[in-house]
Symmetry: C2
Subunit: 175 residues, 2 copies
Amino acid sequence: MAIMGVYHLGMTPPKHPPPRHLRERPSFLLSQLGFHSDQRFGALLAPLGVTARQFGILRLLAHTAGRSQQQLAEELGIHRNVMVGVIDDLEQRGLVERRRYPTDRRAHAIHLTDAARDLLPRVEGALDACDDELLAALDPADRTTLLTLLQRLADGAGLVPGIHPGYDAIGSEEP
Amino acid sequence: MAIMGVYHLGMTPPKHPPPRHLRERPSFLLSQLGFHSDQRFGALLAPLGVTARQFGILRLLAHTAGRSQQQLAEELGIHRNVMVGVIDDLEQRGLVERRRYPTDRRAHAIHLTDAARDLLPRVEGALDACDDELLAALDPADRTTLLTLLQRLADGAGLVPGIHPGYDAIGSEEP
DNA sequence: TATTGTTATACTCTATAACTATA
DNA sequence: TATAGTTATAGAGTATAACAATA
């Protein structure tokens, strides 16, 4: 082989190391599993008639009602223009009401309906099912280990707890 | 409080358990981290002028050249119609060539160019950087533990090693 | 008749800007 | 003037169907 004659005396051959299989790469595995998790959660949520994004809003309203659309948008990292449509859908499904905002006549105070309050525990149940399904291969001790490691990764990456980075922060706006 | 008078004698109150914070939910953490991983890898790849999807194709061609577009599409779970545009882009960037397929005049044999062969190790380097960045908070032992747990999850979920579920399998086609 | 590559069309998402009514 | 909500437009991405060349 040519390499024997040309590269010697401790020279590092220019051959690159063989590429690691993607199965050995945490970032690829996380991407794969994250996407799969989204798909499964979406499928478990579909029969309940809500999307993951809508769930995020309902969840936030559950313990702090009366927020304005703008406040919700800022907290969840969704653009205010998009929030209009999301609230429209939730309102049509009877899960949310637009009421008067006490101190600002431009804003709407978004409130959960009783139907939404009935629905939320069932959505949490779907999330339980999603977790159980995903972790089926792990015993309790391994589940705890995994959870801790994932939390450390999320903290290290600067991810805000409970906020999905899938929606960009507010854009540049107005030239 | 009404609950004291109405629910007693060991009746389980209808109050649902308080919802677990999303930070405690593996499926949410995986979704968060998977999305973040995609973003970071995309950002590290941008200066090299390729997307993650293009990288997947180049990677596959690196050790099995001469595949047809259809074969590539099937192996990666991308629709054949989409593959046309992806190969178009790769060809325009001079990373791939469409040659004659030896045994079928309908098909194209896709081959890497030398430019692509020069590029690939640099993309693998970007993946290394992505992994290192993501795992910065973990020592080597914890990294190994995490990798093993993620692999077990991926296996349990039936994910195909190296194939990202982000692209649906081939649709129904022709009525 | 079935398959490979290709193109065209519709539909969904998202990003951006601009409008209105209030502040 | 700035802000909350809304609407409109354009752009990416995807899904589906249909077509020409070849099998």
